[in-house]
Subunit: 393 residues, 2 copies
């Protein structure tokens, strides 16, 4: 039967994360391996009321087939948000509601990638994007990520290699936690702006920012060459799978065609629930609550790391998002750390799957948003014991 399967299936990594999560699902394991938002801050009571009201008041309109582009008031909310937060001027016509921001990546794969098309991606890069673009048989061109963003020479090289787009996560990147500096944003915009390529600006974590000014989106500099996506997963809840993509009109026409062939439209019930929630409750104070919660969890983990980790282990200090990226000394294997840590009931995520061309054996990702302070402190203490056995040899 395997001869029936498309070639692309052999090129797509089954999610290491997914397989890992299965191992780490035991309730007695402290897991820093996943990437779940903190469910203790979900607006459960509010959403229960809103869901009932939407169906009761809006009736069949909330349950019938709907337009591919999405619910207009929700697209208007996104456009307003972009205007106020980022100073971006986009029309609701440039916004399409998707089933999570992951679906934006699938749609971009459909619209931009032929078999063997070169596409640039941060290294380490977001695994969901690697999976999505692999399904369209992209030829990945890695762009090394430093503590302040991508290596600019790599970006320039990727454009010379005729990459059709560069996909990056400038705000609190998954997996690294890195936020691009303002300088690098300008430089990347300059390079892409003088090419025929696009930038796909994944902004899933843009609202989850602990401190500092709001960074300038690359889209602000080169609006006609940027496809930007966003997510309600991190600012409301992820289970409804609601996100959006914002693209120049010529690209949007293609994205809508692709979306329609993929699943007709995004759940109109979920769109109306989120739209009504946004109109009835103060989202800014809710986002502040999430952000403060994550910031405290992040500080707790950073303090524990500072106290416990061997000096030879380095790590990022995120200004937002959900992840800390850890680099072990050269020659240390995070896969071995993973296995040893599991024996101590601690789960981490080895960094290898975030690399499209090998490497990253000595890296790992730690999630801080889904553990209590006690779990974080105890988990980092046990993880440090494992790390010490590796770094002392």
């Amino acid at each position: 039967m395997s001869s029936l399967f498309a070639e692309r299936m052999g090129k797509t990594p089954r999610s290491f994360i997914r397989e890992t999560l299965k191992v780490t699902e035991c309730p007695d394991i402290i897991s820093f391996a996943g990437g779940l938002p903190n469910p203790t801050v979900f607006p459960v009571r509010e959403l229960a009321e809103v869901a009932k009201d939407v169906i009761s008041d809006e009736g069949a309109a909330a349950l019938q087939y709907a337009t591919t582009e999405g619910y207009l008031p929700l697209r208007e909310w996104v456009a307003d948000r972009y205007a106020h937060r980022y100073g971006l001027s986009v029309s609701p016509d440039e916004i399409l509601i998707t089933h999570g921001s992951q679906q934006c990546l699938d749609l971009c794969g459909k619209v931009f990638i032929d078999k063997g098309t070169p596409v640039a991606i941060e290294e380490p890069g977001y695994l969901g994007a690697i999976q999505a673009f692999s399904l369209y048989e992209a030829d990945f061109v890695p762009i090394k990520l430093e503590y302040d963003g991508p290596v600019i020479d790599d970006v320039r090289d990727s454009m010379e290699k005729k990459c059709r787009f560069f996909y990056g996560v400038p705000n609190s990147q998954n997996p690294s936690g890195v936020t691009w500096s303002e300088t690098k944003r300008r430089e990347v915009a300059g390079i892409i702006g003088s090419s025929d390529s696009m930038f796909i600006e994944d902004d899933a974590y843009g609202e989850i920012r602990f401190a500092g000014d709001i960074p300038t989106p690359v889209k602000k500099y080169i609006p006609d060459q940027v496809v930007m996506n966003g997510s309600f997963s991190k600012i409301i809840t992820p289970g409804m799978r609601m996100g959006w993509v914002c693209a120049p009109k010529e690209v949007m026409t293609q994205l809508v065609t692709a979306k329609q062939a993929t699943d007709l439209h995004s759940s109109i019930l979920a769109q109306r629930i989120i739209s009504r929630y946004l109109s009835e409750y103060p989202i800014d104070s809710y986002i502040r609550k999430i952000t403060e919660t994550y910031q405290k969890q992040c500080e707790c983990m950073l303090n524990a790391i500072k106290k416990e980790f061997p000096d030879s282990v380095s790590y990022t200090i995120p200004d937002g998002g959900m992840f800390i990226w850890v680099t072990l000394p050269d020659g240390c294997s995070s896969l071995e750390v993973f296995n040893k840590a599991l024996e101590k009931k601690i789960a981490v995520l080895p960094g290898i799957p975030f690399y499209t061309h090998g490497g990253g054996e000595n890296t790992m990702r730690l999630n801080f948003s889904n553990s209590s302070f006690d779990q974080i402190e105890e988990g980092i203490r046990r993880l440090s014991e494992v790390l010490k056995t590796f770094t002392s040899t």
Copy 2:
């Protein structure tokens, strides 16, 4: 910028249906062009209560990220339903919950179709499938549809052409309303069973059956070579975009990988709402209500057609589903009928987009599920006036 777009985008028809629906959205138009379920039978009150209860009672679990395969109780319901209705023995592990049954087609495209892969499809065929498979650059092999199912010689030829699968809708097909005879189901199963190919059995309309025995799924004969999909859109409501795909385990592994890269998982909130609705309310009596409603609408339209249409116009007599297929005399153009009918505020759907290799100029699809008796009678009367001007010349 168009040089950036993938080749597939040039091969994918923008939905004629979608464009047509835009023209026909004026409230004073009687539209038989769409394919909407009848919203007057949506269980609005019940779903409002269930939605609230799911969120209140199940809390964060209904709002957090979830597994790619889907909510187990819902997959168990599908497996049970298949056992009782069709005598199929499938495990919940062979079921994946999708964002509508349209997503099953996208996932099958991902899993089975390389550029130029030959795939067989009924002619006329479901437009959503033509769009989905076009995005994977399939090479369509049409299989002519007769009043009792596919032309068997065409099926045999398609296997000789090494089609990787045959996609069909054996129950109350969209667009034709045709249900395959038992004989043809056995014959198709025999031909596919002695090949290395698969059958993709789209069963979106299987539950909407007006009369007669429950037909035998092709999957009953060759379970290991059939991917079967189903939909909650026609038996509950479509707006939540909930469907499923049932596949042999080896295929399911690939489908799950594809689903994860596409949108991680289907809305867990929608899955839990539907699962709870199915456990708290008697779905059989609800489906009976839908079926009786559609049957009456169908009979109303058939009676009006019999009374009004010129004798030279033929049409199918569906035993379920939502559509009647109309064939005009050779040389009559349904596109011209469409334009003339619009002047009389009647919308029909010309049949051309349902053909992958041209043809069908004298065919059109009529939807009966979304119009009142008065609208159906008045609409068919006005449409007949148009038809008479064509058939008399």
